[in-house]
Subunit: 229 residues, 2 copies
């Protein structure tokens, strides 16, 4: 077991080194980037589709999609108007920095303002592996239940933004918004919580405003001020 842990620590250290390289590349190219994490089916790809459709006229968007199998998600992002690269993880339960590095190699970063990395749908493993992106965003969804921040604290901790998706389903399921927000805020006192619905469009402007603000900061760096969290 000790040996297994030692191997695990070496893997994580090597990943951190590669993540730092990715981070430097994104910084140099002036690309604002997100690591989008969630349970399977919380709505990451739908949020990406809406984001790409609504921002494509204003910014140049790229998506790196991590999945165990298929290119369904990258196809959806590309159909919406983004440059999209699909990474199949060969059974791995999360993206890691080397996979994102391959994704960056496949993109011309000089033509990108916003890069969204869509991680594998998994509320446990992805958060352990830094990718080198600027912000960690967790997408939660109403039908998953209000207890998830309590049950998956490691994944809810260290988030810059928590998006609560599928609020159009609030009338049909039991979900206590105050309990959910309390669970998120206990773990992240400075977190930004955004509620939205990709089905009705409610709340999407708030998400897009936050995103545009971050992209602008990253595009026009002022000496001594960093866009990095």
């Amino acid at each position: 077991m000790t040996r297994r842990l030692a191997v695990g620590q070496r893997v994580l250290r090597a990943n951190d080194d590669l993540a730092a390289e990715n981070s430097a590349r994104l910084e140099t190219a002036g690309v604002f980037s997100l690591n989008l994490m969630a349970s399977p089916g919380a709505g990451k790809t739908s949020i990406i589709e809406h984001t790409v459709r609504r921002l494509a006229g204003r910014f140049r968007l790229a998506v790196i999609d991590g999945d165990l199998a298929t290119s369904l998600d990258a196809d959806r992002a590309a159909a919406a108007g983004a440059r999209a690269v699909q990474i199949n993880t060969a059974g791995q339960c999360h993206l890691d920095a080397s996979m994102v590095q391959r994704g960056l190699d496949a993109l011309d970063l000089s033509g990108v303002d916003l890069l969204i990395v869509e991680n594998v749908g998994n509320l446990v493993c992805p958060v352990e592996f830094a990718l080198g992106t600027h912000r960690n965003v967790l997408v939660a969804s109403v039908p998953e239940g209000d207890d998830k921040p309590f049950k998956y604290p490691a994944s809810y901790r260290g988030m810059d933004v928590v998006v609560l998706n599928k609020i159009d389903l609030l009338p049909y399921v039991s979900f206590d918004r105050a309990r959910f927000r309390h669970g998120v805020e206990v773990l992240n006192p400075d977190v930004h919580i955004l509620e939205l619905s990709c089905t009705t469009g409610e709340g999407l402007p708030g998400w897009l405003d936050w995103l545009c603000e971050q992209i602008e900061v990253q595009r026009q760096p002022i000496e001594g001020v960093s866009g990095r969290a």
Copy 2:
């Protein structure tokens, strides 16, 4: 990387040996057992609550609950009337056979007819680790989307039963039942697919009938006939 794989293979082999021990204990005690797997929030705990409430007068029920943190799920199973043991996995993204062994040690199996092992909410990792239970059951839910069998084939493969939960939400979300069933059946030609809603109770009788039948077979073993999959 080779070394890491070799360590992984040793871990899996050791797990298989322990799973065989668990299996023998359950068989000897005449306990029918399930490994219940799902994404976070698909409704495993709600299904357990309904199962315990409706079968408690007829069978003696026990639950081993795997979670990263809290005893919320075991508390719900116990409140419904089951003997419940909570296993916190200390960050592990799945249960393994040694954790289930600890759970079995904490239960008096001679007083149990049905044991439900509720795995960590995760659609990637749990399926790799045999626990020694009789049947693999995957709980899917309508709001997760109909594409999940295609995107998580390793977790959908090798299932005896796939429960599609939250069918009361079908009027409010985009979900193609035929596409979902096709995805499941391609991976498991002999699978039993059950549709239900814990909110309305629709479909629960079919699930309970299947379960009762399995428990009866396991309780009254006939020479040459095994209740094992």
